[in-house]
Symmetry: D3
Subunit: 233 residues, 6 copies
């Protein structure tokens, strides 16, 4: 223990030297959303870089408190709507990748804007409960439980709905103006499976899909054409 602390004195500088020569880039993927063991942990770019790997969140050794700035704890990227998809949905997600202060603290959030008549298709988050707050607009909103019972309603401005962890849920703007919602999650990486593309855009065996939905090969083929990026020409 004592020798550990002595060693540190010299290695601190040597490391900086080393990094100057060989900018080390590695990323450790945190294994959980458990209780933090420090006040916070802002990933330290000195020790590498955060990579956005297909939605996976990676962490790095933390910055010292003295190297950490207030801006690490503030997210300003959700003041306006993001880019709209062809279903009329625009999502901006804040995670430790673009909002470092969230790292290890067990929360994240997203802003969703939905055009009139637009939808957020049936999807679920494998690792989080979601609280959705309607800042503007009027939406049909619901989720399905393990008994295949749907809990759906029309949410108005200022209302809040909870989608229990891991259950399929969905939204549709049924008002006459764009809707804006803020969803908060109790995980720094809730995960996401959008049912249509999970099923038809991933390459699951066609025969299995035919049997699962009772559809013909042609019908499944049409669905796959819609959602499979590799089938899109």
């Amino acid at each position: 223990m004592r020798q550990i602390q002595k060693r540190e004195m010299l290695s601190q500088n040597t490391l900086l030297l080393l990094l100057a020569i060989f900018p080390l880039s590695f990323s450790i993927t945190l294994a959980s959303d458990p209780d933090p063991v420090q006040d916070f942990c802002i990933p330290n770019p000195k020790f590498g870089s955060i990579r956005t790997i297909h939605g996976m969140h990676t962490i790095l050794p933390c910055k010292n408190s003295s190297e950490t700035n207030t801006e690490d704890f503030v997210f300003s990227g959700a003041k306006a709507a993001g880019n709209f998809s062809n279903t009329g949905l625009a999502v901006i997600s804040a995670s430790p990748n673009n909002f470092p202060g969230l790292n290890t603290l067990g929360m994240s959030f997203a802003r969703a804007d939905i055009k009139v008549g637009g939808i957020n298709p049936p999807h679920f988050h494998p690792r989080a409960t979601e609280l959705v707050h309607v800042v503007k607009g009027k939406v049909y909103s619901g989720f399905v439980d393990s008994n295949n019972k749907v809990f759906s309603t029309i949410l108005e401005e200022g209302e809040v709905m909870v989608f229990p962890r891991g259950l399929v849920h969905f939204l549709m703007n049924i008002g006459d103006k764009p809707a804006t919602l803020f969803g908060s999650f109790n995980s720094q990486n809730p995960g996401l499976q959008k049912i249509p593309s999970t099923l038809f855009g991933s390459g699951i065996d066609e025969e299995l899909l035919e049997k699962a939905f009772g559809l013909s090969s042609k019908q499944i083929g049409a669905l796959r054409k819609k959602f499979d990026p590799k089938k899109t020409s």
Copy 2:
């Protein structure tokens, strides 16, 4: 604290008396799969009864160690296949409801038998990772991750596959004899959402489904007829 222990002497008998007159039935739904704080907890029928509420697991005050029997810790109901569904699947699930020893210990399991050509349709368990062990047969097996990448393969007798928590997975018997599999879960109540009936058998708004899958009202109607129990005549 001291008076608590005195009071107990008399209330023990009074309770039995009370229960003889008014067989109290209540159920507490345990809120988590966390670390146990006792060796085990066999629900005590003296204090009420376990109810099977649409797949929800409920717990009760525990039996004393001296009232607990070895049979509480043994499950004999999975020696043979269960009843087959119309997709050629038979599942026997062991949970604290029918295997009391599992209560509070954070595990459960299921036996699945699949007929030749039969499937276990795309589904997921919101609260558990699954380890599936092929005891007999040959199955196409896979899951989809958050990047819509499918990880699928053919499993043979004696092989084991892991389905990460909350991700959509599926099985199809592609061998020439019935297949038998044992799945174990790291939750006493993994939960289950079968995609086809979650989407089309729950009553989600038709317009939203049309937009989500790009299908016509007639096509969605046909799917709902297949999976919605209320639409089945």
Copy 3:
């Protein structure tokens, strides 16, 4: 196990009878914010009532899925500001007591409105990280870490700040119109200690407070007069 299920048939009705005669009221305080072991758990009023005990959240046996309604998962009480305190702050808190769907799902939230020049005094939540979203207005906002470093900034409409679990934080409306904020928490009961009243309104020994702050008996007496409800005449 088998006899448990038989017993249930009759005890269900007997219980209703019993409850008709002796409306049993008890409350179980849930011990944690861990992973849920069921889809959700709406407290069942048939088995007693939820009591608001000085901010403590209590749970009850859950309703069946079939007895649960969509409105259990929706909160409409935060459409407008609550009642303002003398520091110009109005808070509406949503917890399982008034938003049953939150129960066991590990989240809660609050709406805070702050008058021009008003403050939310230094306080902390012992059991949750907070994500605060500025829906309207301009606020000075910050927290202090374990090294006594303050992280403070001015938040504008649409910005989001994170207050790490258990750290002292504070807000002041420095704009020229009322501010509206939504805070979400990763606990169904975050807890709250407002520093001024925790120290001076609780009855901590005066000598200890004098020594802790280096203030005179008279100065401490004045502070206690402000915050101790028993000293208020």
Copy 4:
């Protein structure tokens, strides 16, 4: 939700009435040592009594903050040594049963006194790490890891040793005066398996024990006579 709160008004008194007539005694065994969701939870004797069931800790609905006293959070029973066993060991354990304030807070402790030459035989706690602090005396102390490596040393007054969760550990007073130790645990119910009596005092099949230790039937019989209470005459 609203009707729940109305109902409460009357049921509060009715409950007290009911309990006056039928002092209800039930006990809920808490399932975990997770994060608390309230400040604390002092079991409420109004709703029944705590039963000491062979070392199992049971909880009850909590008292209100206003009904809770400081003495619930203080333990005075460890000022002097307990009763000594025939191995020269005296243990006083503090758990929620005799120190209600510990309930739901994830900690407990024990005072151990060991006579000169006395031992605390090899044992382990299935659910907790232990920090042992030598208040008085000199002890041989150690534990064994999963590689069958022993970590043992001589501890003197004022020293502290950690026994990792679930690993076999042991103590022997090798000084010339009685030793006093305080062990704290990170579980409200760490559990205990004393190896000699677990193996030879529980009734494990004799043939299996012979094979496991390579001992004769006569030797195993002698060990069982020492540790099996039923074999003791």
Copy 5:
């Protein structure tokens, strides 16, 4: 945050270069079996190598989803029995070391084969509950609880028994053919302490063992000769 992402562009290649020159080998030991924060985490050999350190499981930065293969999620090494010990036991353990897909998902498993009359001696897993499924044969099986009560029975083909976390358990093949069992665990590294070698093969002080078991120095010496590898000549 922004500069982090810029820096990444160049460091990615530099890292590969660096690793080509200095194949960095380090290993991070994961600290828990908590909820995953990503779909899965296949250790990335580019960033070092997994070392099998006396049964300790180590993790590494994860592979990208696109670099991950189905075979990472399948284990084929348990199709046949392993090598038998002198007690007639053959165990094949699957952990993240040889089944990378298990990493961070909170589960592992083992295949055990027991010869006629063979045993799995009393042992326990400090960090997991075990579900044991008898695929073939007939075994005496049991565990001991904290009250020294043994729960033992004869398991037949197709039966399943649960051994609660951290409690001593054991098996003996009492049938007339070899037995095959599959045990699954709710930890990626359950740990293992085999009582005979933990006590007599680790080097615990002889005097303490004599006092603990009431055996003579000669008897303890004989036991140590059997189990202590250093005493074996």
Copy 6:
């Protein structure tokens, strides 16, 4: 998987070589106090050094069992009192930084000595419950709950008090000799916020503090002078 193990053979030496040239110093901040997944984890100085970053605990890859020594699990630094502050308090804290064996095991402790009339000012630990054991002396001790109710009492030698996680607590030596206390925590890094310096020594906006306490600018200025290190001349 197989190639991973081959690669290791060579990289082990290369790493040592690399480290001889470039003593790599990095530190990973552990994200939680969850269940360990190995017996223990002694940080390995070969892979870098532990840095004490403003009270933040950092971990490193673990040593092999064979490289680990008993002394890693023993702390001898709390035999005598530490250095006294101007409030008459001396604290020695044991954490993974100076007591490596604690790493990943979810516990830590501190020795506090208080002079006659000295105090431990109101403070709280964001991440742990504390059990305080009075080894010597007589202290006024208490905590405040979320309802601003103070639970305070006089503790004598041998008594133990529990301070629930995250709640403000305090101590004052009211006896006629120095007091010695041992506090144990159920986190390896409980964190600490001392109220006086958190509020007045961190740089919170003066206007906000005036409004929060109802004090004049001059009064707040005087308090800041006492606690703000930057204002101290």
